[in-house]
Amino acid sequence: MEQILFYIFATMVVLSATMVITVRNPVRAVLFLVVTFFCSSAIWLLLEAEFLAIVLVLVYVGAVMVLFLFVVMMLDINLARLREGFTRYLPIGAVVVIMLAIMLGMLVGPEHFGLDKFEAPARQAASYSNTRELGMVLYTVYLYPFEIAAVILLVAIVAAIALTLRRRPQTKYQDPDIQVAVQRNDRLRMVKMDAEKRK
């Protein structure tokens, strides 16, 4: 049963990942990426790593992919121009990839993997909580890597702001200060005039 489930989800991962790079419409590509993430989180679940499965769905599908969709929809990407060099570079790219695949297959083929080479991890009891185990080591044993990861995120923020924040005087923007302090007289002008006579 578990094996069948694994093969179903693994096939879906591979198929949807292929679709991500082959479909023409970028919005569809992003949606296929969502499918890929869903199926890989299912594979995490099969491995009893429920925390990672949930995080994958919450963070990637919930947050990152939505941002991706925003970006894809906001940018007007000219796909025809992006595809220009495709046929030109296809032959050499294909040769390199096929050679690499053959060489990797010959060197480390399936006989190097499998249950007789790597023992399957022991089953955990039903009360075993993956989340709890991760929580126990994340801030203790892995304190140092965890802190470095935090610094990397900080640097990412600094770098993103440094690269995008520029003063552009000609852009139009709203100043909340003025918006809040607006008076009735700024918005509405009372005009006194005599009633028009019907002609």
Binding site: V141, Y144, V151, L154, V155, V158, A162, L163
Partner: protein, 480 residues
């Protein structure tokens, strides 16, 4: 639950630098463009502080902490001091250049400080996780710094190339790490080295190792993973090129040592062959293509590639003398490259980059003193005695000759070094025997003049007493 609190003391320099970088980040927010100099002073003070902290607690043995993810040994301390000094010198050289080119912003120094933190983490890594995270921290800062000049198309192109190729290299590195983790069952470099002899599947082991070396070779800029080096060196603003050409080379050397020597010493026979290939290709391509360059930054990029080849020669011998010779070479190279890029920045002014070879024509008429400094640097890079570069090359070659069966490699290295001498000597010929196209005097602030002169004279002075630095390197490598 309770767990033993890790010993924070060995990581004090890192903690201090992180705190100071955050302080600089906050202080910079409240500064106006006119008082931006304060950011520079604070950044320099933080680096100096780290330097003092390391010097005060210079280690004599190997200390592991944070569940063995962090290691502090004499080699780490020596390299960290080198990184601090290189970063301080590059900040100092960069100051005037950044002002003249309208790039004097706090972000340069903040990203620079975080990059230095990444290098320190990399130097002290004792676990695949810390190696990878330190590398990413360093690379992320460098990508952003290269891209900082937003209006320059060539800088954006360089940043894009650097980013994409860097991401691929990180992917390769991670793939290799995951294979090795699968085979050995641990991420700890010390444990990996212990378990390697017991691994049954040797093919899978070398398979993982190859990917690991690809990642390292990319970060070092060794042929055939050198494509990004010339474009990034040329495209980035010279101040950034200086930063990423100097200190990160020491970090990349440390990464090589940590992964191959600390982590896979018992596989020496296998990684030696790969390193020989990388070294010969780097020396050949670097030295030969440099001859055709008209842009000095590009020329120095190819020269960097060839120097990486020489640096690899020492490590691949697998002996303590070889490691020390490579470390000596790395320190020497950083000292020379700081001076060479410093000269480009000294000559440049507003709207003028001074990065073509012709710009150095007749430098002797314009400023005999700095022509002399540049001559020292070029002679040293070419490996002419009695300058420091000669002793660095000599110690690497000595290590090669002493180990069995590598004599041919030493001879190859000498041949390529003679080819390389051509383009260094051409710069000297242009400075002394060609007529100046531009006769304006050099304008530079006094601190830059003093430090650049000291930089050049140090290359000469240490060359006259070559034993000092080499003995220091040997002492730091031997002790563990």
């Amino acid at each position: 639950m309770n767990f033993p609190l890790p010993n924070f003391l060995p990581a004090l320099p890192e903690i201090f630098l992180l705190t100071m970088a955050c302080v600089v980040l906050l202080v910079d927010l409240f500064l106006t463009d006119r008082s931006r100099g304060a950011t520079y002073i604070l950044a320099m003070a933080s680096l100096l502080g780290v330097c003092v902290l390391i010097a005060l607690s210079f280690s004599h043995s190997r200390i592991l902490t944070f569940s063995d993810t962090f290691v502090r040994d004499p080699m780490a301390d020596a390299l960290k001091m080198g990184i601090m000094i290189a970063a301080m010198v590059s900040f100092l050289y960069a100051k005037d250049y950044l002002r003249e080119h309208g790039m004097f912003k706090g972000e340069f120094y903040i990203l620079g400080l975080f990059g230095v933190l990444g290098m320190m983490i990399l130097v002290s890594a004792h676990n695949f996780l810390t190696v990878y995270l330190g590398l990413e921290l360093l690379s992320l800062c460098m990508y952003a710094m290269v891209a900082m000049q937003r209006d320059s198309a060539i800088a954006s192109e360089a940043a894009m190339k650097y980013f994409v190729l860097g991401a691929i290299a990180s992917g390769m590195l991670l793939y290799g790490m995951s294979i090795l983790y699968g085979v050995t069952g641990t991420l700890d470099l010390g444990l990996i080295n212990e378990r390697l002899p017991n691994v049954q599947d040797k093919i899978l082991l070398s398979f993982g190792m190859v990917f690991l070396i690809v990642g390292i070779a990319f970060k070092l800029g060794a042929v055939p993973f050198h494509m990004w080096v010339p474009d990034v060196y040329e495209g980035a603003p010279t101040a950034v090129t200086l930063y990423l050409a100097a200190a990160p080379k020491l970090a990349a050397f440390a990464m090589l040592m940590r992964l191959l020597v600390d982590g896979m010493a018992s596989l020496h026979g296998q990684w030696q062959d790969i390193l020989i290939l990388l070294a010969v290709a780097s020396m050949a391509i670097g030295n030969i293509i440099a001859i055709a360059q008209a842009n000095l930054k590009r020329l120095l990029a190819y020269s960097a590639i060839s120097h990486v080849g020489y640096l690899l020669l020492g490590v691949l011998t697998g002996t303590t003398e070889g490691y020390a010779a490579s470390m000596f070479y790395a320190l020497t190279y950083v000292l020379m490259t700081l001076g060479a890029f410093g000269m480009i920045m000294l000559m440049s002014r507003q709207g003028f980059e001074a990065d073509r070879l012709e710009d150095f024509k007749g430098l002797n008429e314009r400023s005999p003193w700095f022509a002399f400094i540049m001559m020292i640097l070029m002679f040293s890079m070419a490996g002419v005695p009695p300058f420091l570069g000669f002793w660095a090359k000599l110690s690497v070659l000595q290590a090669l000759v002493q180990s069995t069966g590598l004599l041919w490699l030493a001879i190859t290295a000498v041949v390529f070094s003679i080819i390389g001498a051509f383009y260094y000597l051409r710069v000297i010929k242009m400075m002394y025997f060609d007529k100046a196209e531009d006769s304006s005097a050099l304008i530079a602030s006094n601190d830059m003049r003093v430090v650049l002169s000291a930089n050049g004279l140090l290359v000469l002075g240490l060359g006259l007493y070559p034993g000092l630095l080499l003995a220091f390197c040997l002492a730091t490598i031997v002790s563990p």
